[in-house]
């Protein structure tokens, strides 16, 4: 039985006219109520724009490398000459410009400390009114500088500039400092961040603040990755050597981000250094190598560019080869990643990103396996971004790209059998950003073409099929205004999905964030944000399975649009300049989450997914220091999440509602990470993770399964005791919890500097005290007495690896 969709948002997003005149007043009321929030926001935006601004001056610093192009993403500090403790920190934008609006006139000291370049110090004057512009060209230095202050400064810049987002960033160095399985992995490393829950050692899928794993937008240089995992989730598709930094926005993200409701993980590729550069590594999982080089000047000149870099990496696992003498392990993965960037003399930046990865499980050649099966899956991504300074403070960024994920199980012996899934997205994005007095603004649009096709068929029958395609258009505008000690971010995003199957869906998503700074040096701030987020794609991956593959569907007749209203508030600040502390509370409401309908009606092609609702609330705390020889980080997260669906398993035709904690409802999660820089280039790192028990559904009994034959109209039972198949009767859904999880990991790295480069062997030991964290319990009611056994997650697991660079 299909239920009408509830709520004003649902009525609007589905665009279905109410035929009943009785419902019309209600619908108008809902629409007015729904539109009230964006109207208020727009009014605030107008007020902010129209408001007379302080007659303060501004300083712009245009930064570039000597004999090369603009330097984006660099921390620039401006210290007031009269009191050097008073400082402003800004990041250069994609055109290499750092802007310091609304500063008192006077003399300032400019300080830029960028690894690989000589430290720059100079004085600049801020005029009484207007903008002072300073051009800075950094010299490359032969000796690499430690750059210990960089992360703190970047955090400070974000603290100054962003009102709403909860952002955590991990650099390549951070990624390599978290003890890992075999090789550094960005998806494993972000598990240490506040608000992030991982349900299993075996899966690098993650949940953020009570959102589903498919509600995380995962971007590689701005291009979406649909299944960012290898080996069913054991580790990610990202080769750490190719990563400059990864940024997780766990909430309150601005209007420029659309498409997912829970978080944004943005991974940026690294062009790495100068000249010919080789980085590689060997681990128990795979061997990888990344080669980088400057793009020949002749090639650049022909395209009107001044400098450029290109890198390519390749990685392949070798379980299949290593284990061959012992047993057949017919699995391997390969991935290939390419990144290039080129900069024009005018500061324009052109990047190109490409990724292709493939996992192959080939049982077709095995004598020990009766059925010939070949299973392949992987992502393909390509895209280019052009960042163009338009003069003044305006920058135009345009991105084109394509992303796809496919998986297929092929049975060479049975050509009538096909299990396959494919999702594709072609995208065009453009945005214009700039500053106007003390305000930064950004407007943009997106046009995507999406399609998916999932098919399961065998023996002349289609077990399930879903397909659709369509266009998605999105526009957004956002503004950040700094006024005295207030920072106000307001934005509005509208996404419209036009599936071929019909029925346009539109989602209006207003967002507002406010931050108030305190203290003589504005080292403390309280902030609050509220916003609406929409998602038009869902993964049908069974989150209860520790290993799995994403099967995507797009919103349409089968799947709803997920709408999430979110509120968060918190406090953040810097203690004595070195320590960053943040505490945030949040409340999230989800409408249109989906779950597989195990009792779907085969005659209804649109009921295979259940539409449900969800609520999560909690609090995150973070304390960290990013400089010094010892860098600790403590993250504490508290979460309560629930999901509510029709319980079709009880009565498919008239299902009652079932509310339960989802599998990622970890009430308390504590992460303590410590990095210690020891003498002689030794680096020691620890991670201790504690998580209260995750929910599971306990069986309350087991019974013998009988097979009913329609041929004889009789039941067949097992012929022997070894053939007995048991089924279980389940207790309340997720009504029990596994024991508390805790694990201590350690990593040790030592860098040897050779004439030709560096060599870094590393030892990682996971689960140092061999805690048997529960993966599954098995309730064995067929034993006397009845037993509970189970399997654990990672045992004590030492791994070694070697990295090199020259």
């Amino acid at each position: 039985m299909r239920r009408p969709l509830g709520g004003a948002a649902a009525k609007i997003q589905w665009g279905r006219p109410d035929r009943s005149p009785l419902l019309r007043p209600f619908r108008y009321f809902c629409m007015v109520k729904f539109l009230r929030v964006p109207l208020v926001l727009l009014a605030m935006l107008a007020i902010a724009l129209a408001r007379p601004l302080h007659a303060q001056s501004a300083v712009e610093v245009a930064l570039r490398a000597r004999n090369a192009g603009a330097l984006p993403g660099v921390v620039v500090r401006l210290l007031w000459a009269a009191d050097t403790l008073t400082q402003r920190v800004e990041l250069t934008d994609s055109a290499g410009i750092a802007r310091f609006p609304a500063i008192p006139s006077g003399r300032y000291r400019l300080f830029i400390d960028l690894p690989g370049y000589a430290i720059h110090r100079s004085d600049v004057m801020a005029p009484a009114t207007g903008v002072s512009r300073t051009d800075v060209a950094l010299f490359v230095t032969a000796v690499e500088l430690p750059g210990l202050l960089v992360e703190t400064d970047r955090r400070r810049a974000r603290y100054n500039d962003q009102a709403g987002s909860s952002v955590s960033e991990l650099t390549q160095s951070d990624l390599k400092s978290v003890p890992s399985l075999g090789e550094p992995d960005v998806l494993r490393a972000i598990e240490v961040l506040p608000g992030v829950v991982s349900t299993s050692d075996f899966s690098s899928a993650f949940n953020v603040r009570g959102g589903g794993a498919d509600q995380n937008l995962i971007l590689l240089d701005g291009l979406p990755i649909y299944n960012p995992f290898h080996l069913g989730g054991l580790f990610s598709v990202f080769n750490t050597d190719m990563i400059d930094r990864a940024e997780l926005l766990s909430g309150g993200f601005a209007a420029q981000y659309g498409g997912r409701v829970s978080s944004v993980l943005s991974v940026e590729s690294d062009a790495a250094g100068q000249g010919f550069d080789v980085q590689g590594g060997v681990s128990i999982l795979a061997t990888r190598v990344a080669v980088g080089t400057d793009i020949p000047r002749a090639l650049l000149s022909a395209a009107g560019l001044e400098s450029g870099r290109a890198r390519i990496s390749i990685r392949r696992s070798y379980f299949d080869q290593l284990l061959k003498p012992i047993f057949d392990f017919p699995y391997h993965l390969t991935d290939l990643q390419f990144f290039s960037e080129a900069i024009s003399s005018g500061g324009a930046r052109l990047t190109f990103t490409a990724y292709t990865g493939r996992d192959v499980l080939d049982l077709a050649g095995l004598d020990s396996f009766p059925l010939q099966v070949k299973w392949q899956w992987g992502n393909g991504v390509a895209g280019s971004t052009l960042t163009l300074p338009l003069g003044g403070t305006r920058v135009l960024t345009t991105r084109v790209g394509y992303s796809q994920f496919t998986t297929a199980i092929v049975f060479p012996q049975f050509g009538d059998t096909e299990f396959s899934s494919r999702i594709e997205q072609a995208l065009l994005r453009t945005e214009l950003s700039g500053r106007w007095n003390t305000s930064a603004w950004r407007v943009g649009g997106a046009l995507d073409h999406l399609s998916y096709h999932n098919l399961a068929q065998s023996g002349g029958t289609v077990f399930g099929e879903g397909r659709d395609r369509g266009w998605m258009g999105g526009v957004f505008a956002q503004q950040t205004t700094r006024s005295d000690r207030w920072l106000i971010e307001s934005g509005l995003r509208t996404d419209t999905w036009l599936p071929e199957s019909g029925g346009a869906r539109a989602a209006v998503q207003p967002r507002l964030a406010v931050k108030r700074f305190f203290g003589a040096h504005e080292d403390l701030a309280i902030k609050a944000s509220i916003g609406r987020y929409a998602q038009f794609a869902h993964s049908l991956r069974d989150e209860e399975l520790p290993l799995g593959i994403d099967i995507w569907v797009l919103s349409g007749d089968r799947a709803p649009v997920t709408i999430s209203d979110q509120l968060q508030t918190g406090i953040e600040g810097f203690i004595r300049g070195n320590w960053y502390v943040a505490a945030e509370g949040y409340y999230r409401k989800f409408d249109g989450v989906v779950a597989n309908n195990t009792a779907e009606n085969p005659n209804d092609p649109n009921d295979d997914l259940l539409r449900g609702t969800g609520v999560s609330y909690g609090a995150d705390f973070q304390l960290r220091r990013d400089n010094g020889r010892v860098r600790p980080m403590l993250a504490v997260s508290w979460l309560k999440a629930t999901r509510e669906f029709d319980d079709t398993g009880v009565d498919p035709d008239n299902p009652p509602k079932l509310s339960y904690p989802p599998i990622f409802d970890r009430r308390l999660d504590v992460d303590l990470v410590l990095q210690a820089m020891l003498p002689r280039d030794w680096k020691l790192s620890f991670r201790w993770n504690l998580g209260t028990g995750l929910p599971y559904t306990r069986p309350i009994g087991a019974y013998t399964m009988y097979d009913y034959s329609v041929l004889t109209s009789r039941w067949r039972g097992p012929d022997s005791s070894s053939d007995v198949e048991t089924a279980v009767v389940l207790g309340p859904r997720n009504g029990e919890r596994y024991p508390t999880y805790h694990r201590f990991d350690a990593g040790l790295r030592k860098t040897f500097v050779k004439r030709w480069g560096t060599l870094t062997p590393h030892l990682d030991v996971l689960n140092l005290y061999n805690r048997r964290n529960v993966l599954f319990y098995f309730y064995q009611y067929d034993r006397t007495p009845a037993l509970r056994s189970g399997v654990s997650m990672f045992p004590l697991l030492p791994t070694i690896g070697l990295e090199m660079r020259f």
């Binding site: 085969p602 009994g701 019974y703 329609v710 037993l787």
Partner: protein, 309 residues
């Protein structure tokens, strides 16, 4: 040696993950009722058993099982009877010593296609379980049509050929289950040079999902659920394009209701065992499903029967 060393962590990972077993409290006693109504069948049966509980047998001899025809307002009661009425073959090995067969002799119109029935299972201790089913609508096999079947509902098929079996739509059917018993298949394949062990008849199944999927390719679509069976794979590959000469097939196409499908296809993943979706609520679990069956025979004895297509 180097390979083995490198493989060590993986072996460790694979080998050392078992948790210590602990004794747990007794499981709950849950009555499992499996009742599948068969349209126009004068014998209706139910197989009733229970979850494994210490010291308790699986049999449930004292239940009162009543099926009520909600359309006609009549009802019939199933009474305990011998296992052979419910079971195919010898009594099976079970976890807790079997089950109890219940049966009712009724008229051939007691269970009709398209009618709605309710079930009530009462236990002496007061537990009551209920369910409801709508029997799928009547349907007929149209290929091979009536004219192509002899008086024993049998048609002939040339060896090495396949054909489509087509039937009319059964209103409300969730799936069509096909089951075929192929007698003399192993011997016939052996005669054609393929070494297949044993002499037993082979039973293979097929499936059509949804009321509108009213076609199956015979014999290519059979054996859908046997494709992981090491012994049967060569046999399935050998009959993809047709049967060898000398095979005698009995084939049933059954339109099944949604309750039956939910029970057999399973629910959410649980590491402790299969989860079957119950169509019985209250103090018990199980299936209250319904079927409408159609039966034909196909033989590959050359020249003896009218051709199937």
């Amino acid at each position: 040696m180097r390979s083995m060393l490198a493989a060590l962590p993986i072996l460790l990972l694979l080998a050392s993950c078992e948790l210590t077993e602990i004794t747990i409290a007794s499981p709950q006693d849950v009555i499992i009722t499996e009742l599948v109504l068969r349209a126009n069948d004068p014998l209706q049966t139910a197989y009733v058993h229970r979850t494994v509980t210490p010291g308790a047998a699986g049999a449930v001899p004292n239940a009162t099982i009543i099926v009520r025809d909600e359309t006609a307002g009549t009802s019939f009661t199933l009474a305990p009877t011998g296992d052979s009425v419910c079971l195919q073959g010898a009594p099976p090995n079970t976890l807790n010593g079997g089950a109890t067969c219940y049966a009712a002799n009724v008229s051939t119109t007691a269970v009709r296609p398209g009618a709605r029935y309710t079930l009530r299972v009462e236990m002496p201790d007061g537990r009551v379980a209920t369910g409801a089913t709508v029997v799928p609508g009547a349907f007929a096999i149209i290929q091979p049509g009536r004219a192509r079947l002899n008086e024993f509902d049998t048609c002939g098929l040339p060896s090495g050929t396949a054909f489509d079996i087509i039937w009319t739509k059964s209103a409300g059917a969730a799936v069509y289950l096909t089951e075929a018993r192929l007698r003399n298949l192993r011997q016939a394949l052996r005669a054609s040079g393929l070494e297949i062990a044993g002499n037993d008849a082979v039973e293979l199944g097929g499936l059509s999902i949804g009321a509108s999927d009213t076609i199956m390719r015979f014999p290519s679509d059979l054996g859908l659920f046997d494709r992981f069976d090491d012994d049967l794979i060569p046999l399935l590959l050998a009959i993809r394009d047709g049967l060898p000469a000398g095979v005698d097939v009995t084939l049933v196409v059954a339109a099944a209701d949604r309750n039956y499908v939910n029970w057999v296809r399973g629910g959410n993943f649980n590491p402790s065992g299969v989860v079957q979706i119950s169509s019985i609520q209250g103090d018990g679990r199980g299936v209250f499903g319904s079927l409408v069956n159609r039966r034909i025979n196909i033989a590959t004895y050359p020249g003896s029967y009218p051709f199937c297509n």
